[in-house]
């Protein structure tokens, strides 16, 4: 009995130590973080199933919303951003729909619903994560609304935007996050 309790203490100490390491790491952020207000453009985008969605309505949600800008044939940063989305879906439990993950194509001419479906499949995306394309003009206006406009897909940069359902403000994260860092940012916007 005493041995078992001792074991539990040892395990607890190990967990606490690991947690403290994680927290120490997260204190030393490798990404830039700011809190900003944005107003959304009234445009209609098309998702991976070919369904038309009014972007403004999509963003006005009582769930946390996460937005990133990617494209289907991107080499370096989109795979890491998308691995982050896939991982957050795995970590939030069975109800993946309680967080809305939104990837917006910055190569709308190539990213057709079919290309986007295949992309999501590669990352084993679950319900709650949608990929959107649209006319170049509409995509540009979405990029501009988030102060994320790039004239060319090859000159893009890693950006994740998290909307708090509490006050509707956006956490703007410039840089790539690890799994725990992403989760901590989620907790900060009120995600339990």
């Amino acid at each position: 009995m005493i041995t078992r309790r001792l074991n539990l203490y040892v395990i607890l100490i190990v967990i606490l130590t690991l947690c403290s390491i994680n927290l120490a790491d997260s204190a030393d952020l490798k990404y830039k973080r700011s809190v900003v207000s944005y107003s959304m453009p009234d445009v209609v985008l098309v998702n991976q199933d070919g369904a038309k969605v009014r972007f403004k309505d999509l963003m006005r949600s009582n769930k946390p919303v996460v937005v990133d800008f990617i494209f289907g044939t991107c080499t370096t940063i989109c795979p890491v951003l998308s691995a982050g989305f896939a991982n957050i879906q795995n970590r939030i439990g069975a109800d993946t729909g309680k967080v809305r993950l939104v990837s917006i194509s910055i190569d709308p001419e190539n990213d057709t619903p079919k290309v986007m479906r295949e992309y999501l499949k590669r990352y084993r995306a679950k319900p709650g994560w949608d990929f959107f394309t649209g006319s170049r003009r509409d995509i540009d206006s979405v990029m501009r609304a988030f102060d994320a406009y790039v004239p060319n897909k090859m000159s893009h940069y890693p950006l994740t935007l998290i909307r708090s359902p509490v006050d509707g403000k956006w956490v703007r994260i410039f840089g790539l996050m690890g799994s725990s860092e992403f989760l901590i940012e989620f907790q900060k916007v009120g995600m339990k």
């Binding site: 070919g50 080499t75 795979p79 890491v80 896939a86 060319n152 897909k153 799994s179």
Partner: protein, 577 residues
Amino acid sequence: MSGWNRRYQFITAALLCASFFQLYARLPSACAESIKPPVSPQEIIRLGERLYRDGILPSGEPLMALVKGDLPVSGTAFSCVSCHLRSGFGSVEGGVFTPPTNGTMLYQPFRLLFKGLEQKYFPYPDRRPAYTDASLAEALRRGDNPAGGHLNDVMPRYQLEDGDMAILIPYLKSLSAQYSPGVSTTTLRFATVITDEVSPEDREAMLAPIEQYMNIKNSQAQAYRKPMGGKSRQMAENMLVSKELATRTLTLSRWVLKGPQRTWAGQLREYYRKEPVFALLGGITYGDWSVVHQFSEENRIPCLLPQTDVPVLSATDWYTLYPSKGFYQEGEAAARYLGIRDDVSPDRIVQIVRDSREGRALAAGFDQTWEDLGHRAVLTMKLSSGQRITSDFIRQLSVIGKPAAVLLWDGPETLPALDLLSTPSATPELAFISARYLGKSLQSMSERSRLFTYITYPFSFAQTVIRTSMGSTTVEDDSKWRVSLANSPFNNSATGISSVTKSLTQLLTMALMDMRGNYYRDNFFDVISMVPDQPSSAYARLSFGPGQRYASKGCYIVQLSPGTEPDLIRKSPWVIH
């Protein structure tokens, strides 16, 4: 004494037991190794390529890794090739620099260059020493680099067993290990493939811009090569698109394919045997490109922007980058346009398809896209070669009720058929035809037919606006909604052809610059995949990306205005969503 003996016996027995257990413990793995089938060097490279490109371990399981410290990723999502690309020369994207990972570069110190040039005097210290097999394995598993630091945490830390490492490392050593054929210290050889039926005007339109380009580049290099002392060489290295071209001449051979198509593969093999080239530039045919496409795939020879209206359509083939999907792309646009027209019933669409290369390609583009949009296949009626569209044929269309839309994939024969359709009882809400398939006869379409006929038009309306700011070029979409048919690039085939070749020479400049003398065929297409969108007066916008093999993605849907000199009136955006 007897106690000592007993102790001695005990120790001996213990040692024997221990060695037995040690032997026993080793036995399975030793046996396993001895019964493992020997892996041939070719098999190692095949498995290594699968690991590098598809992220699949020799066991068949996906490669697993951690990125950004604690973010798990599977090889099915991304693998080495995602960032280091096929050639292994890496990429610069989204502010992340991915260094080369081919053996030649890994197994030598990483030198810092100044403006791409090595410093003879006071060189910078090496960024890292040469890797060894052991230090490379450490870097792949734990991200420790041999200079004592850590690799950027965007580089995944891979879970690789010794056996996997024994597959991956030889593959990296074999990757871009020696220059591709067609490259020597004095020349960089290219060829262009022309099929014999192409008119002299169209050949000239395709060839002239490439030949002019090569003459300029070669005469620049030649001027610098004159013995004027060390300064001229330095000047050449700084002024040319790449310092490696100061000593190399670009050559372009014409590979003309004659006679029946079944003999073309043999002709290509013979041309290649006589003169191995680094890549195929441009090229032109009035027919399909499948034989040359296959030749490029089999020999891993890149072919850049061949001009054909019937390219091979494949999501996985690698070695041909086409200007567009040709006729297929027009069929695709018709399906997408119908997809956004809520007023057209999907069950009342008929497709009439001439049994020709063009007709089949248009129908294939429509059918595939229509299915991808989630619709059932439409009723398709075939027209055999020479068969005319009669009133009886038109009456058969009503088996599905009065058609809402009729797609007429035929050549100039389409115009009388449209007239038959324009009787009040038969007129559909929309009819679709292909501008390219009809050719110049388009302008003689009757006024009545113009009212309900929509035309797939895969060309730009106007010179695309380009905005340059701080070195980056922005290609803007056409803002024109109306253009005179007489002024369209489609009306003069030579103008359209030479416009594509001009885009090719722009791409070639960028590729020669970005390859930095690493003349490996996979690197040629790797660097092109990183090129920003390019304007094209014929195809509006050409865009690229790893694995993207059809540069122009759009096609307008237009109508003809009334009058003897009609305008084209745009009914859709360049890319329809």
